[in-house]
Amino acid sequence: MNHQEAIDAKFGAESAMPTEFRDNKRLTVPLEKIYGVLAFLQVQRGFDMLCDLAGIDYLGYADATDRYGIVYSLTNTNSGERLFVKTFANDPDPEVPSVVDLWEAANWMERELYDLFGVKFAGHPDLRRILLPDEFTSHPLRKDYPMRGYGERHNFPTVTRAES
């Protein structure tokens, strides 16, 4: 039984939609089942490493129906097999369940994704900005954020030696 059939058997039909490109095998999973599917893949199917967590903003992308794509790149360190699990979140309040309790590595990856895309991770222990300063108000990797920014950098408060 391959991964897609195993997931469908456990979570109901059409829980995982398989696609393939080059050597990348992808499963698209609906948002409400994503945590269960990832936990299942980790415990039952041997994907013990969360290799990467990628966020994509599909605003204006051809034929896109959802806005934020989140791609979990899973690796089985014993067999070397890779699997890409993809889910989607949408405005106005994009929120995805956190997988920090499954993979500790997700901690910073989710913080980075939150920082740059504004996708929240429910259940994350410490969801703060990581790359940008706390005073920053926007999420720059969103497609509606201009390349030149909104002038945040010029408006930062200047800390003088006397105040610090």
């Binding site: 080059r22 990348n24 990467d52 990628a54 910073w108």
Partner: protein, 408 residues
């Protein structure tokens, strides 16, 4: 990050007045690059470490959506600037995977040689810097002597020492000359001596071993759970190397030339020893590759409509001029499949991957980097807890954090 935010987060309600906070960085000699640690200390013992990063964040991934696949190579250069060629090779490996291009055998071998030179250069810096932070200046000087030779080779190949921007979609900016082969052969010959010099200085050095053995131990389960790859993962016993597991470039043909170096120690000493071992394997790969360097073109044919024609073709033939025009006009450029792909290479620091989403144009819709430094640095608070302040330098050095890649 205001200091109060850090302190309040870990207050347990008990009387912890004896704890005090130390700011480590952002400008500190032992961080090597710009990052900050807020350490909560009980005497000299670290109770809690909270990293504060982002000082070098310059929006590389946003730039990746604005520059085309050939232009962005100058930006990936600046991620892990200790081994920039390896980043370029990983980037164009992913783009070629997206476009389904098969590069020429000569290009594969040249890229393999450069990737291994970059690995040696990176490991030498890491090993030398760890030794330097722990008080051994001589090993650092030996290491940097050899790095200079690597830079000379890269300069000869590309014309640039530090940020070569050498690869292009479908090949390289130019072929290497005969001096390159001579230089690489000389390097293969001279490197083992420098390597053994460093080994003799450090491997049985009591001070060095006392400072690294049992410090910053990462078990295999933790390393897997925290996504450690490369030397950090292998020092914890994960026998995984993309050069063996998912061979790319010329590695399928060079499988006999190298082994995976692993250790069960998981501490700073194991990471040091794995890096030293990997350098020997890298030299073996280079020695095998340079003697089997195929002849023939370095770029795929111009009929593929993706490679930049060389200058003489641009100036002297109408086909070359047309292709140059097609590639450099904003409204032309090459076409890519509307899809997304993840491609990864084994670079010196670990698995450097790119998740590229393409909308059919010559620019990436999204160019996500899987930065090994970022993922390894996330383990740092875990590794450093319970150790002394002086161990921060050893652990930080053994993870080989490059802040430009950390923050991008």
């Amino acid at each position: 990050m205001p200091l109060e935010a850090v302190a309040s987060q870990y207050e347990t309600g008990t009387d912890q007045e004896f704890l005090y906070t130390l700011n480590f960085g952002p400008q500190h000699p032992a961080t090597h690059t710009t990052l900050r640690l807020v350490l909560t200390l009980d005497g000299e013992t670290i109770v809690k470490a909270v990293p504060d990063i982002g000082y070098l964040h310059s929006g590389f991934e946003k730039l990746g959506e604005d520059l085309d696949f050939n232009q962005y190579v100058t930006i990936v250069d600046r991620m892990n600037y200790v081994s920039p060629v390896a980043n370029e090779i990983a980037w164009h490996h992913t783009i070629e995977k997206l476009m389904g291009l098969e590069i020429t055998p000569r290009c594969k071998y040249i890229r393999t040689i450069l990737a291994e030179l970059a690995r040696i250069s990176d490991h030498l810096l890491c090993v030398g810097a760890v030794a330097l932070d722990l008080g051994g200046l001589t090993a650092f000087l030996y290491a940097f002597n050899e790095r200079e030779k690597v830079y000379d080779i890269i300069e000869n190949a590309s014309g640039q020492r530090f940020h070569p921007s050498y690869t292009r979609v479908g090949g390289l900016i130019n072929d290497v000359n005969d001096d390159f082969v001579t230089q690489v052969r000389a390097f293969v010959k001279s490197f083992p001596k420098a390597h053994s010099d460093v080994c003799r200085l450090l491997n049985k050095n009591k001070i060095f071993i006392d400072r690294t053995q049992g410090v910053g131990v990462l078990t295999r389960e933790e390393a897997i759970n925290r996504s450690c790859t490369g030397p950090v993962g292998r020092a914890s016993g994960i026998a995984r190397d993309l050069r063996k597991d998912e061979p790319y470039l010329a590695y399928p043909e060079l499988q006999g030339a190298f082994k995976i170096v692993c250790s069960n120690g998981g501490d700073c000493l194991a990471r040091y020893l794995v890096r030293m071992g990997e350098m020997v394997e890298s030299v073996n790969i280079i020695a095998a590759a340079i003697e089997n360097l195929p002849s023939g073109p370095v770029n795929i044919g111009t009929d593929s409509n993706v490679v930049i024609p060389d200058k003489s073709a641009t100036y002297r033939s109408i086909e070359g001029l047309i292709q140059h025009f097609e590639l450099f006009m904003w409204n032309r450029r090459f076409e890519t499949p509307v899809n997304e792909v993840y491609g990864a290479n084994e670079t010196a620091n670990g698995e450097l991957g790119f998740y590229v989403v393409s909308d059919g144009s010559a620019k990436a819709w999204r160019a996500r980097t899987r930065p090994p430094s970022f993922i390894h640095f996330a383990t740092f608070p875990h590794l450093v807890e319970g150790h002394q302040i002086s161990d921060v330098a050893a652990i930080l050095g053994s993870l080989n954090i490059i802040a430009a890649e950390l923050d991008r």
